[in-house]
Subunit: 464 residues, 4 copies
């Protein structure tokens, strides 16, 4: 891969900064945020291949350099050793340029702006929701007055081709219905729905389709945002990212995935099971191709066994029928519209939904935190869901996040314990993920990063 130096001028709302802001930006970008900023920008710039996603090497990252220039006219970035493929005839591809400035906006600018604002408070539930609104507003992701049409698609990045094709087909059917897409902005089930929707929109002559990718610093550097993403938003951590999804989306489609997808499912069930959210319409569909039916059977069984029928009522499973998924999604969106209209609620942000502090606070998956998770049966189901969510979150971290991988390398697998029956079901589910090769891209050599303390487990010796 060849490299090149280039200067680019601001986008994404950074066209208008005071001299002080630019100066702080410049300083900040050289300081503590520098490495993260560089990583994220390089991730964006290496996503340019049409047919494949090649991530960058450490070597590249060392060579790559980025400098924030201060002009009276605004901010300019000077990139050194940027991947040449991000340019066309000496000019950076517009979509990538926008994504680069989204990184600057969210990683560097926003961070220090939030710090300077005494009203921003991530340490309370209400403050957290307000801060998320701030970030989304600053990214111009909130559009008042527009009819609800945002579909959040969740699912794995390491999925087989036939599942990818299915996500694309569903996206196509959603796009034909004028629906926009939000995903986690990587590959697999995060890319397929966008690609499909792009074709659907194009056939319906919709030229302003939105393909929103919401990511977080711990993930973006590993998973390049796919190039269809035309609105890239980087939330501070996984909890804020998950909240951004549910506040922004009007309907939710979950494709097969691994532990990350399970985390998302438990997250949303935990919220929906809270008594205050009982009556809020929240369309939630699990779907996959025929061949993946067993995946959702497994998940459904796990939910039935751990959280019970009340939880099962919160979602609908549709197998191998993209048109039915699209129709159900659209009907769900219409119900949301009606409900918010009746309640004089905003279309652009789901203020009504109650999210407990437990779901908002950053969960740091240390061995200690993982070990002391309360996974006993004698607690309200929305709390059990919350804790199961954390367990899955820890496993995701141990699988793919830099920090988690290091922890596990140092201290061995996480220990998770709790109610015997729940442990047994959890163990079975994780085992199924392993055998379905849903844990990591390099599935054949997967070594589990967790150990379920469950006397009945047949697989225990294998996980050590």
């Amino acid at each position: 891969m060849s490299h090149i130096d280039i200067e680019i001028t601001a986008e994404s709302g950074l066209e208008l900064l005071t001299n002080d802001e630019i100066s702080r930006l410049s300083e900040h970008s050289k300081g503590g945020e520098y490495e993260l900023f560089k990583k994220c920008v390089l991730a964006v710039l290496t996503s340019t291949q049409v047919t494949d996603e090649i991530s960058f090497h450490e070597e590249q990252l060392k060579l790559f350099d980025i400098e924030v220039l201060q002009l009276n006219k605004g901010v300019k970035l000077k990139l050194k050793n940027a991947p040449a493929a991000s340019l066309v005839d000496g000019k950076m591809i517009q979509g990538l340029k926008e994504q680069v400035f989204s990184v600057l906006r969210d990683i560097v600018f926003l961070k220090q702006e939030l710090e300077s604002n005494s009203r921003i408070d991530f340490n309370s539930s209400n403050g957290c929701t307000n801060a998320i609104f701030h970030i989304l507003r600053n990214a111009k992701a909130l559009r008042p007055g527009c009819d609800p049409n945002m579909v959040v698609c969740w699912g794995g990045h390491a999925i087989p081709e036939f599942e990818y094709q299915y996500t694309k087909e569903v996206g196509y059917r959603l796009g034909l219905r004028g629906l926009d897409i939000i995903t986690g902005c990587g590959i697999g089930a995060m890319k397929g729905p966008m690609k499909g929707a792009l074709i659907g929109h194009s056939k319906q002559r919709i030229s302003n389709g939105r393909y929103i990718g919401i990511t977080e610093p711990g993930i973006i550097a590993a998973e390049s945002p796919n190039p269809i993403v035309n609105e890239l938003i980087i939330m501070p951590d996984i909890e804020k990212r998950l909240e951004a999804f549910v506040r922004l989306g009007h309907s939710f489609v979950v494709f097969p995935g691994g532990v990350g997808t399970a985390e998302e499912i438990l997250y949303i069930l935990g919220i929906l099971l809270h008594p205050r959210n009982k009556n809020t319409p929240f369309p939630l569909i699990f779907t996959g191709p025929k061949e993946s039916a067993s995946y959702f059977e497994r998940i459904d069984q796990f939910i039935a066994d751990t959280l019970g029928p009340e939880a099962q009522e919160k979602y609908q499973i549709i197998i191998d029928d993209p048109v039915a998924v699209a129709r159900a999604t659209q009907q769900g969106v219409l119900k949301v519209r009606e409900y918010r209209k009746k309640n004089h609620d905003a279309y652009h942000f789901n203020w009504q939904l109650h999210i407990q502090w437990d779901f908002q606070e950053e969960f740091v998956p240390t061995h200690q935190n993982m070990a002391k998770l309360n996974l006993e049966a004698d607690q309200p189901i929305h709390l059990l869901a919350a804790n199961l969510r954390k367990a899955f979150s820890g496993i995701v971290s141990g699988n793919v996040k830099e920090a988690g991988i290091k922890e596990v390398a140092k201290h061995g697998p996480y220990t998770i314990s709790g109610d015997v029956k729940i442990m047994s079901q959890l163990d079975a589910l994780l085992e199924a993920f392993v055998s379905q090769k849903r844990m990591k891209l390099d599935a054949d050599n997967y070594v589990p990063c967790y150990r379920v303390i469950n006397p009945q487990s047949k697989s225990e010796p294998a996980t050590v």
Copy 2:
């Protein structure tokens, strides 16, 4: 395939008609044009599959019915037994609706409008060019004041997958450079560049990319316009269609194809070799993947042998390098821009290019007309090119057009004769097409529709 009845209201400039116009339209659509109109609309409506192009059956055509309704408010179409796949939740897909009304506009409305205009005259060279301008203007395809950026892509519809991928890759590189695409609007090399450009445009955040498909009644019913086409234009016959390409385009890329592609190449060379066009810049690139290099070697050889080095100077061959093709195309476009600017010429229509009457008059490939083609060596090369073009045109007709196929079935293959050396080269070229399976989609059972009268030919017995 399920069917459905539906009513749709006017688009494509047919929103505003006088009562008389609607009444004539309605009458006309029931009269002589009815069958053609039906066929074309059905062709449009059966192009909705994402992954494959299924053409319709005779049976379907019989069931399908279309009626023009006259309202004070405008024109409405009533479709009976339309393919259900053309609808989403009871509403016709916008892109298809626009294409349907483009058919109505060009096949029914325009035809009778041109008849009523005493100034339209298809029987002179100048009149013909003016009429083509009329048709393109009526289709809103001419946009004054826009910088030149239209790339015409020619090539076969029956091409192997790796050639298709190559056309897509070239289209992607053109799209990244902000160039728009014009093709013959079917599959293969007519679809690939559009699909690639769509992705390229999307990455550059160009939301108003143009994907123009120019077709003609004899072809559209057999080759559904692909759904990316957002401007469908139906010219009266193949000669007008070819002229529309060269008047509208600013740069020309030719991919591998069969006889049809050879016809296009001879057509454009015949024009460029005319002394009056000597100084007009006209970027013309032949390109294909590595594996198809031999195809253009063959063509190049044929041109060298029959028309000589002057003809060879008119084009450039680039093998297996999409980026180089895109760059050369863009440079060509800039040269065209400069030239027209200097000469106070229009950007939107190539008035300067001289096209002889010979290239404009409809050539009807009867056995008699084919037999009496002058393919002798003792004529100006631009006339020889013109006659060779007609020979290829006849073979295309005998291969895939309804009328030609019937003629050949009745009277046997066409006879083509002329200068011994030219005949021998023509024979060799055609033979190569046959052996490269470039003659028809069902290549293995191809029975030639022509006979080259060439004493040296080894292949002659095979062609009988």
Copy 3:
């Protein structure tokens, strides 16, 4: 007034012409249409003063020259000795440029285009309406899909300041309600409503307000279109102009005026009284300031006496209340909307309204034609209205149109005769106009161009 030479390039839909069209345009503009074309363009170019309307002198017209240049790129106009005030720093004011090309479009281009179209037929009622649609469509004045909001304002050009202020105030109130304005495009009651609406629109932040001026060659040269007019349309003669008003407008407001206004009133009453238009909603309001109340009392009396109460039901008189006028107008527009919606009728053109041939055929006010007008009482009232309209039309011509003035100078005043009672009322009305100084701008020296044969008339001697 200083003069200047300038070249301007095409607008108003003339950007895209075939070479043949430009060539015919160029020829035509030098031929029979030359004088008329020049006059109209000069009229447009002399309307640039902010505070006053200065018409041009014969001397200026002689010096002024206009040439249509043919470029491959399109059409260009070369103006010699154009009024310098039409330019700002060497560039023609955009609004004037657009108006100049509207003149070219309607006077030169359209004329010859209509001639070349065998389907255009001004000699039948239906053909006439279709031709009017053609002209309006060509001028892009028809906009399908827009909600009805066009208010036609009629009234005199030679009105006192307080009446002018009143028309402005009414226009302001209409503009505040988002209504657009159509007038005859000169000064007085044709300018006031536009100026008022401009301010109203600006306060409502409506930036695309339409100020349509519909004129005809016999009038435009004498009455410069005021500079607010952003859509100038020139109909072939007074009858087509009147029909264009009623087909295009959704609501009608009549301000005080002279014989011309009376002509308009009789014209519309004649149409509305036709049995076929009985149920068509057609909002028609007569309004003026307190001081002008007597004007409409006089008109109302005349209608009562000649056409009777059925005619009086067709309109509403509102004195000195601009807000009430605006409200009634808007309610009328809403009724029209409902009615057309229910009847699947177009919003952009009133196809439903039946207009008799009598109202469409050009009435040439020769002495003979005026003398033989049937103004007897024993005919259907809609026919009587039609004939009274013609009588007024003749008087307008004798007052202000070049042809009429010459006729009267040669043969003396027109003679009008008929039913004794009607003649007496007509006589009284005309006398009132004379005494109210509504006949001509130079009111004090007015010499009537007509003679009402009415034995009871006290004023007869005076009119000779």
Copy 4:
């Protein structure tokens, strides 16, 4: 004047607020800001008359009430006893609604937002400029990438009709050249240029003309923003308002006025005379009709006598020639463009211009502050200009601002003293203003609010 209750929903960037922001807004609006907020909104709502500007009475203000409602959907205002003339058929006029929300944005929302931002610092020169940028950016008044075209027009509100007509004519000529207008947003010379430009823009078919009114709380309640203003910005005090003018504008036109205009002239001269601004192009034109020539002669003399020829070089005086003013303005704008382009400077904000702290700090015109102003001759001229500016500022306050009027009522006229020659010239200038009736609208009964300590003054006794 009748009154009415109404609810209106947010505009001006307040469509998207967090629940916390709305809640703070609601609280704030009831608290300390309530009276000011009410006053300003009422000022906006009473500016609806076309022909005249009626300010509101104390009585009205008491009846009038305004409440900020908090909805999940956003913010809503509930107005009680609003002037009925601000509504059309029950809906508030869009332009007024926008202005009302601009008041809310700048008076209530912005204030508390700035307070919460630890980076905003009004106590340093750089901080002040950054804060002004913040306010303008928040009002969306900064548009990066647009060519310079903003003309600041200064001049009196209490001017005779012929001067008003002149400002309108100049505005018309500026508008014809595509220039936008910034004024202080009241009547007189603040309204005329906008009204003229509106007509000029309309003739040039410019539909997005900008008419920016920059005001401050101490003035807006007394001077309603005129209804043409389509961007209303309220700066915290007179110094910030003056800085906003010079940072935003590209060219400056000064019409005749009174002490306020003199203050503006001294302000800008003080800045331009600072050595660091020596080379910055800053087009500054003083202009008025023939009859007002003496006004600028007087001012020019005063500047010559006090600040000298260096100061006189900073401006150009053009008498009675609107076209020359417009041309000079446009040339000035082009020079600014060139200069900023060359220096890579922003077009949207004049960062380069150095403004001393002395011009930024709020000057509170107490008797003590006025008395101790250093008006001696032995100081750099840019400092003398700064102090003279303060003297004029105090007189404006004593004339028309609530606080100043009270001070003077209590303690008698301000005392101004200094260099004998300067005092004498100041005295003469002020006297001229009094005799030209430029001090107050009610000019005949003007009682001076100042006393120039100048032994030579003949007028001294009169000012007591």
